[in-house]
Symmetry: C2
Subunit: 215 residues, 2 copies
DNA sequence: TATTAATTGCACTGACTGGTGTAAAAAATG
DNA sequence: CATTTTTTACACCAGTCAGTGCAATTAATA
């Protein structure tokens, strides 16, 4: 009678679920919701179609499971991104690193594909898009804000509006690059250009909010 | 024998094309490419399905026509956005106006929906997404750059890297708002918040590149 | 090994949909 | 008004696909 959570139980359903979600994720990312085919997903998961329907009642439920799993993962990354110590190295060095980490994380091809999927399905699944935004991009913004506030507490920078400042940081660093990446599937931007912009963004942020230069 | 371009000729095909493209645009924006239904598009256009197929050979061709038309329009807007005179009013006032115009144009709900569509179909139609990006967002960025360069020529601001500076301007002004708008279908952001950010972005830009304060 | 639960294979249904063929109606044009 | 071109109405085809039913098979578990 114990099925949920703990307890060993038959390991097969869990295993199947996992491989199906993995295959389905790839499939949905590639073809979108309507363009995806449950038969093919089953094949690619190495599982019978019937098993898919035994474990997920409908295509929509499967899609929701995929998005949920992806969101969970993203949330995890977002939560402990930018968590390291603060104030051990020169401010500009740490900000540059923060910028590069941020850019690397958000511009990661898989992450960009997830964004494309959710944005593309925003009309069909508004709740999913909204929740993803809340639990990934918004969380990342929060992590940045918290880190910047630690710098502010140290007196390195001045933050009249911490939320606004973190938005400025984030989009100075990767705004233009991300915008382009959403439209251009192929890995267009050479890594160097991306990094140059990230560093320039960090410098601009420092000019804006640094104590030594600003007000 | 004269069919293309000038010459009167039977007005019906042109009229049909126009109404079909209009209806199809709405439909594709709402349901995406695969989710759209040619029969329904015909109905909504008040036209027989056969007429659709007489004027556009396939669903894909129709979709391409829709995107092309949308891109044309966007290109037009982008081209003569930010064209007015420069240097007649105080710099900060003009920059604030530039920011508000920029934000209003890019965050326009229709524009956001087009972005969603193209981003969502980027895997299926990479060429369309790329071309849209080139002829709309990139063009807007160019218009901003040109305008900023005129301020630089007047000596009001200093632009070591005009392209980078225009990216900074654009994304300081609406980066965070746009990112959110892509995920949240409903008109979430109250106009006031949008405007506050735009103005704050313009001020930040001025801090960064203004001659009076910066280097 | 015996029991139980999960998985498979596969055929099948019903709805949907892109695209075509055709003959008649409607609307331009001269 | 006569001619020509476009549009319509409508039936139709073929392929696709979500979802089901079921008997046989396979793999956990005790």
């Amino acid at each position: 009678m114990r099925e949920t959570a703990s307890g060993a139980g038959d390991p097969r359903p869990a295993r199947s679920r996992a491989t199906i979600v993995t295959a389905a994720t790839e499939h949905f990312l590639e073809h979108g919701y309507v363009g995806s085919n449950v038969d093919r997903i089953a094949d690619e998961a190495g599982v019978s179609k019937r098993t898919v329907y035994n474990l997920f009642e409908t295509k929509e439920r499967l899609f929701r499971a995929v998005v949920e799993s992806t969101t969970d993962i993203a949330e995890g990354f977002a939560r402990d991104l930018h968590e390291g110590p603060v104030g051990v190295r020169p401010l500009e060095v740490e900000l540059r690193e923060l910028a590069l980490n941020h850019a690397t994380a958000v511009l990661n091809p898989r992450v960009v594909r997830v964004r494309r999927l959710l944005i593309g399905e925003a009309a069909r699944f508004p709740d999913l898009a909204r929740e993803y935004y809340r639990r990934a991009p918004a969380l990342v913004m929060d992590a940045i804000r918290r880190r910047l506030e630690r710098y502010a507490a140290l007196g390195s920078i001045a933050l009249p509006d911490a939320a606004l400042a973190s938005e400025h940081f984030a989009f100075l660093v990767l705004g233009a690059t991300l915008d382009r990446a959403l439209f251009e599937s192929a890995a267009t931007a050479p890594r160097a250009a991306l990094e140059a912009r990230a560093v320039a963004g960090a410098e601009a942020f420092l000019t804006l909010y640094g104590r030594s230069l600003g007000a």
